[in-house]
């Protein structure tokens, strides 16, 4: 039996609905016989009547309602149809959910699922990676699972956490990534994972780019390089200790993100490693992100816009030569 990243997300939600009566799912097209634009909630409305609810196209009100329900003891899971549309809900997420515990001492346990990142032909408004924005503001946890196993255990963990969690699930991984079975338990939230061990270079990445980084590392093995790949798992909190320990082993750092290049997780990783572990570095740390334009529609342009295994390998070779 094999299970995809998307099925893992569905299975996690089924388990949550089964095990915890406080859980309900709220979002556009999640209910009925439809089960979501990507089918992440397929069959759940039937299996859990009244707990998987379709909403109007009102991202602000969807998150607002989730916040109100969470304050009253529920554990809502919001599905944004695409991460891009969560821009409409920014006010509720950043200013309401993100500030609430700090202001009132009452936490807001909502989980907002963001189908994130690029796929072929999706264009400027169905391809964005929004983790930078949510990580920048206080009061939120930002998860970016890169494996089927993490997609499953981290979503279950997200709902258990008393604070708001932004769960960035990558659409490219939905069908591309498969596992044999789902684990009972994952690494603790906030801990990065050494996805592949190496001694020559540390590549730090997350979400779909972690898979591209692994492919690049495999390619570089054939050239005699041993590349370590660190999967951040959560962008916030950022596991600086694991990063520093890896760079201490390799002396070289390359950070890969699919988001736009200004700021972001890759810049944050480099800032922390440089300020806390400057002495560990044998070469200036590098990073690779998407281009600083809206995300293009045409596959030729899209492939040129985002990092991929080949570009990562090229960047890594240059850094390894330094």
């Amino acid at each position: 039996m094999s299970i995809t990243y998307l099925e893992a997300i569905r299975e996690a939600q089924a388990k949550l609905l089964r095990d915890d009566e406080r859980v309900f799912i709220y979002g556009q097209d999640v209910g009925g016989t439809f089960g979501g634009a990507f089918k992440a909630t397929k069959g759940l409305a039937k299996e859990f009547p009244g707990r998987v609810l379709n909403t109007p196209i009102s991202e602000d009100a969807i998150v607002g309602a989730a916040i109100g329900a969470a304050m009253q003891g529920m554990r809502p899971i919001v599905e944004m149809q695409f991460a891009d549309f969560s821009s409409i809900a920014l006010n509720q997420i950043l200013n309401n959910a993100g500030t609430h515990y700090w202001r009132t001492n009452v936490p807001v346990p909502i989980t907002v699922r963001l189908p994130s990142g690029g796929t072929k032909g999706s264009g400027p408004f169905h391809s964005q990676s929004m983790e930078l924005i949510y990580a920048h503001y206080p009061g939120l946890i930002v998860m970016t699972p890169a494996t089927v196993e993490d997609a499953y255990t981290m979503l279950i963990e997200a709902v258990a956490i008393d604070d708001p969690v932004i769960y960035c699930e990558h659409k490219y991984l939905y069908y591309h990534l498969k596992a044999d079975k789902l684990p009972e338990k994952g690494l603790p939230t906030g801990r990065a994972r050494i996805a592949r061990e190496g001694r020559d270079l540390t590549i730090v990445s997350y979400s779909a780019m972690m898979q591209e980084s692994l492919a690049a590392a495999e390619e570089l093995t054939r050239e005699g390089f041993e590349v370590e790949v660190v999967d951040l798992r959560t962008v916030k909190p950022l596991d600086t200790d694991t990063l520093l320990a890896s760079v201490a082993r390799t002396g070289r750092l390359l950070c890969i993100g699919e988001s736009f290049p200004w700021g972001g997780a890759t810049a944050e990783v480099i800032a922390r490693v440089t300020s806390q572990g400057f002495h560990l570095l044998d070469a200036a740390p590098q990073r690779l992100n998407a281009k600083d334009t809206p995300i293009p529609y045409h596959p030729n342009l899209w492939n040129a816009h985002r990092p991929n295994a080949q570009k990562i390998a090229t960047k890594a070779r240059a850094l390894l030569r330094e």
Partner: protein
Amino acid sequence: MLQTAQRTAKSKTKKATPPHDRFLEAFRWMLLARTLEEKLVSLYRGGLITGGVYIGKGQEAVSVACGLLLQKGDIFAPLIRDQAGRSAFGEPLIDVTRTYLGSRLGPMRGRDGNIHRGHPRNNELAMISHLGAMVSVTVGALIAKRFKGEKNFVGLACIGEGGMQTGAFHEGMNIAAVEQAPLVVVATNNHYAYSTPNDREFACDDLVDRAIGYGFEGYSLDGTDLSACLDVIGGAVKRARAGRPPQLVVASVLRLSGHGEHDDASYVPEEVKRQPFARDCLKMAEQTIIDLNLADAETLAAWRKDAAAQVDEAIAAAQQEAAPEGNKEDWCALSTRDLVDHVDE
């Protein structure tokens, strides 16, 4: 349905004589709010309050009806001019003075100030400044109560005609109706969004006409008339509780202050101040008490004195309390402490 509803509300207003004790109770909350806010204004002018002071002068009758007519277990989402309603709903006076004076013992502990306060655990939601946002939050709280199998509850969210023009408000109203939430939205048209008059805020004939478009039942209200406020808002709360569609009440008043105390409201023309909606609801209520002989002058004086004493006590107590200190603050925005991100510390 809307037209009938409005007619009913209006005819009821004329005939209705609410129970005198409820009217008097409401009057005393209004008096307390007015006394408190006048005192806060003088503290602000004396430089003793940091940040702003935002008062509800002229809106106390609408506000008090909102807070007073809710029951235990109901959800209340007050806004910036709802001191009277907050007090009537059960917010202790000391919470107000602690928040304005920045005591670390207050509900916001110096982390937020003035009207940005609440007690979510007591169902008094803590507003954010972004108007319209609390409507959907109230709906969500009601959805939760429905999930939990609670019965006989309502939510009441306050808004102004300024906040009614936000996208968040529209989304919140629509989702309330879709969810058939037992919600009352009380919109107070105080004729100015900060300095902008109604004619640059909206272009419909009457804001209450929007009710039918949202799937709400709509009622108009003279917000200067306490008796009408208790009656119309009371009716809306009762209907929402009984399972009728969500209710919109649009009250008309004039904001008898600036947007905040930093604002002298010199942009309000004199002729506007002579309109019927510009009457002071507190003075009107007091006149009713005198006309109907509901309380004598001695009793009114005693109430005033009592309100002043309560306010003085709450201010004196908060003034003696310690302010928060940066180096002792718990700089942690998450309740899950082991997931706090530590940057270069």
